[in-house]
């Protein structure tokens, strides 16, 4: 599926960066329009010294001509405050088969001197790219660079486009990174039409209405500055979703999630008709499998691994999947294509499944979110046949009408069938059935299913060299991340790089003496690293003492919150996790333990950390567990999280003291 708002997608960012390569051609005598000059001396919204620019004025005028024709005019003017604010001198407008740009102009009102103007003929057209994926789309961007977009100057632009909408809904996103002085939105409907406005992350504002014209305005909207690990922008930015209804009833307008589900379900019509080739493949994959779980697993793995991810999204293709036989014969497709093919193949076994559209960051959609196109991904909810009680089936939901559903993402190559990747856990998705749509929360898996379990048997010599063997078992995202990293490596020297990185993160010097991977391809099994290493000078001499850090490997501490800036947004963890380290260090002959670091027991509810160092004969045993229990830490607990990370960082550097045996 396309990005929620194509005009603000990552693809645009990449493209806009390239747009600087073309020079802006300024036109003498092109005075900026009156609406821009009107805000030159307007008091700006509140901002601080780190603000790059302020949006002085924004105006979006939407005129619904008919169910298949909407005209939109946009005007915006920014005052650039800092060098990074220059990016507002580049305006990018999305267009495509169903959306035509009628006009585009840009102006600059410099602090001194005459205005500049750039027009449609100065713009260039670029195609979007999608980092890390193959994308073929008919969407393009018209990019206009406004000259002299420098601090102190005001840049503005105006464009109009006309579109044939796939659905009768618009979203006014009035809150952005920079503070907004005033933003206006107007909606002109044909006679007899009605609308429904819903607000996201902002108190409702009543419109001024006159006939079929409704006008909204917001003022002094604070900017949303990025913070690490914050919720997705759609989950925190103020916006208004407005849905239009033609006279005489609904037509592709989504007042409710149920309506949207019906619309999406209509796009699936005819897309899941099987073919002889699909039937044959299903038979071949499942004939030797006994239990229903194994049959489903075989089909899921086929779609995960044998259908390459390629997105061909032309027109409605951004929303509508290709027919399953096409996806099967081409052996490629995007997320909704993969979901459609797997659903079709499951149907061949008599197993029902349903599309679930979802956003790939938890928090963008919540039960409070009004129904709108806030999704960028598609997965499946598989109705489990009676009697499927395999313990590997974890990501399930007992639906009151549909029965037991298993959520599965066939686009993710490495997720074991029965489980969900972290970004989908506890996330809200739209379950699409022939009866309509329903917002459902996907299950959150136990933290132990996303885990690194590391055990090491090590020995220390009197010169401080540490050597020994380590075994790591990785589950869930901890396993998927390594498999993804290693998916294209073929040389052994490359395959040990993750181990080198791990050791390099904790050891000043090391040599790997042996290494192997466990279950690299067997995604249903835990992934593992087995390795041996030597670390010269690991332990440090201090007079006749030897200092040894018992936490040999792995880092759980984080400097995420080590900043003077007050935290504004909750801190989001991608998934629950539970890691453990067990290190057994045999101390050198002739030495005994003189001092041990204290145990650590930190439990803040959202996460916990426990470590302990004990002596057992000539062995120092260090054990620790780290668990993420809740997926979001509220701002009120940010200080607790900072303390939590400091406790961990301190424990990770604690030291055991050895002394000569008496």
């Amino acid at each position: 599926m396309p990005a929620t708002n194509p005009a603000r997608s990552l693809a645009v960012l990449a493209m806009v960066a390239g747009a600087f390569a073309f020079p802006a051609r300024a036109h003498a005598g092109g005075d900026a329009p009156a609406w821009m000059h009107a805000v030159v001396n307007a008091p700006p919204p509140n901002y601080d010294e780190k603000t790059d620019a302020v949006l002085l004025y924004s105006e979006t005028n939407v005129t619904v001509v008919s169910a298949d024709k909407i005209k939109t005019q946009v005007r915006e003017a920014y005052k650039i405050l800092r060098p990074r604010g220059r990016e507002h001198g580049v305006v990018s407008v999305y267009f495509g088969r169903d959306r035509k740009i009628k006009t585009i102009h840009g102006w600059c009102i410099p602090a001194q001197g005459r205005d500049y103007e750039v027009k449609d003929k100065d713009a260039i057209e670029v195609s979007p790219g999608m980092e890390g994926a193959d994308l073929i789309t008919d969407a393009k961007y018209r990019v206009l660079r406004i000259p002299a977009a420098d601090p102190g100057n005001i840049v503005g632009y105006e464009y109009e486009f006309e579109e044939q909408p796939f659905f009768l809904q618009d979203t006014w996103r009035f809150q952005e990174t920079d503070p907004v002085r005033e933003s206006h939105y107007s909606l002109q409907l044909p006679p007899g039409w009605e609308y429904k406005a819903s607000w996201m992350n902002h108190a409702e504002v009543k419109p001024a209405e006159s006939g079929n014209l409704a006008q909204w305005a917001v003022n002094n909207v604070p900017g949303l500055r990025e913070e690490p690990e914050m919720p997705p922008r759609d989950g925190v930015a103020g916006a208004m979703v407005v849905t239009f209804f033609p006279a005489g009833g609904a037509l592709n307008g989504f007042a409710t999630w149920n309506d949207m589900g019906k619309w999406y379900n209509s796009l699936l019509n005819g897309r899941m008709e099987s073919s002889p080739a699909i039937k044959q493949q299903v038979s071949a994959l499942t004939a030797s499998q006994g239990a229903p779980f194994l049959k489903m697993q075989a089909l899921a793995q086929f779609v995960q691994r044998d259908i390459r991810y390629v997105a061909i999204e032309l027109g409605i293709g951004g929303w509508q999947p290709h027919p399953a036989p096409e996806v099967f014969s081409h052996r490629y497709g995007d997320c909704k294509d993969k979901a459609t093919l797997l659903r079709t193949m499951l149907n061949e076994l008599g197993i029902d499944a349903y599309h679930v559209v979802i956003y790939t960051e938890r928090g963008a959609i919540t039960p409070q979110t009004p129904a709108h196109h806030g999704f960028n991904h598609a997965i499946l909810a598989i109705k489990l046949p009676d009697g499927v009680n395999d313990p590997r089936v974890v990501a399930t939901l007992q639906h009151p009408k549909l029965g037991r559903l298993l959520f599965f993402d066939p686009t993710n190559e490495f997720i074991p069938f029965g489980q969900l990747p972290g970004y989908l856990q506890a996330n809200y998705g739209l379950l699409v059935t022939p009866q309509g749509g329903e917002l459902v929360q996907l299950p959150q898996q136990p933290s132990i299913m996303n885990s690194i379990q590391r055990t090491a048997k090590l020995s220390l010599d009197p010169n401080g060299k540490l050597k020994g063997e380590v075994q790591e078992r990785r589950l869930g995202e901890r396993a998927s991340a390594e498999r993804w990293r290693l998916r294209t490596t073929t040389k052994d020297s490359d395959r040990i790089k993750p181990i080198e990185d791990l050791l390099g993160g904790s050891l000043a010097s090391f040599y790997i003496t042996s290494a192997s991977l466990v279950n690299l391809q067997q995604t249903e099994q835990p992934f593992g690293f087995n390795y041996s290493f030597e670390s010269p000078n690991y332990a440090k001499n201090a007079g006749d003492l030897i200092l040894v850090r018992p936490r040999v490997l792995g880092q759980k501490g984080s400097g995420l919150l080590e900043t003077k800036e007050p935290r504004l947004f909750p801190i989001e963890f991608e998934e629950p996790a539970q890691d453990s380290d067990t290190f057994e260090i045999t101390i050198p002959p002739g030495y005994v333990v003189d001092d041990l670091p204290p145990p650590v027991d930190a439990d803040y509810g959202f996460a916990s950390y426990h470590s302990k160092t004990v002596v057992r004969g000539n062995i120092v045993d260090y054990t620790r567990t780290f668990e993420v229990k809740e997926l979001s830490v509220p701002v009120a607990k940010a200080d607790d999280l900072r303390k939590f990370y400091r406790i961990i960082a301190s424990d990770e550097r604690n030291t055991v003291v050895l002394k000569p045996a008496p």
């Binding site: 010294e49 780190k50 800092r82 060098p83 990074r84 601090p151 020297s493 040990i496 790089k497 080198e500 990185d501 050791l503 390099g504 993160g505 000043a508 010097s509 090391f510 040599y511 790997i512 010269p536 000078n537 440090k540 001499n541 201090a542 007079g543 003492l545 200092l547 501490g557 984080s558 400097g559 080590e562 003077k564 003189d594 001092d595 041990l596 670091p597 204290p598 990370y645 400091r646 960082a649 301190s650 550097r653 604690n654 030291t655 055991v656 003291v657």
Partner: protein, 209 residues
């Protein structure tokens, strides 16, 4: 700098960037405003400390000069820099060492090793100890001179204060891959030297734990 009884290291730091070190920073930030330049310098110091640190630039460096060094002054706090070892407290001999922590970790090298310019980093740090604390031991001085790269680190026990000095010199532009193992070994020695521990004995009243 000053070590607190809770193990925090805090104080004033002056960093003097000379030659190309100063020039490239001036060049990189020539279009930035004061806010961005401040952040740039603060981030640079943060990246040199191996654990989370609070850094605040407190002077106004000369960004326009070309003949003079770029001098930046900071307030620096490293929470929990000194850590527990039962009755003792230990802290590493190197402070601004993070850049070298993850350099040349991999055993194999395909391409030559290229540095933008030869450089030398020199640290001179004085750390006052909490009242009543004593230095139990300092690590022996390390000197590693490998011709085109050189490193030394030393911790000295002065009266009521520690004196840490460290010098790292990289004096080449390009090295063939056949020299990579030797270079990797050198930086392992650097890391090992940076992690040498100074052992402190807290005063009786203030002993932690």
């Amino acid at each position: 700098m000053r070590l607190t009884e809770t193990g925090d290291l805090e104080g004033k730091v002056t960093v003097t960037y000379t030659g190309l070190e100063g020039m490239y920073q001036r060049l990189d930030e020539r279009h930035a405003d004061d806010v961005e330049k401040k952040k740039f310098l603060e981030e640079r110091v943060k990246r040199q400390v191996p654990v989370a640190a609070e850094v605040e630039l407190v002077n106004q460096p000369d960004w326009t000069g070309s003949e003079t060094p770029l001098v930046a002054e900071y307030d620096l706090k490293i929470p929990g820099w000194a850590v527990n070892a039962g009755r003792r407290v230990v802290l590493p001999a190197g402070v601004f060492t993070a850049v070298e922590k993850h350099i040349f970790e991999h055993a194999n090298r395909v391409h030559p090793i290229y540095f933008k310019y030869p450089y030398q980093n020199e640290d001179d740090i004085r750390i006052e100890l909490p009242a009543g604390w004593t230095v139990s031991s300092v690590p022996p001085a390390h000197v590693q001179d490998s011709h085109v790269v050189a490193y030394s680190i030393q911790a000295e026990n002065g009266k009521d204060a520690l004196h840490l000095s460290r010098k790292l010199t990289v004096d080449f532009l390009i090295l063939e891959p056949k020299y990579y193992p030797a270079l990797r070994n050198f930086f392992q020695v650097v890391r090992s030297g940076d992690e040498e521990q100074i052992v402190l004995q807290p005063g009786v009243a203030s002993a932690r734990n």
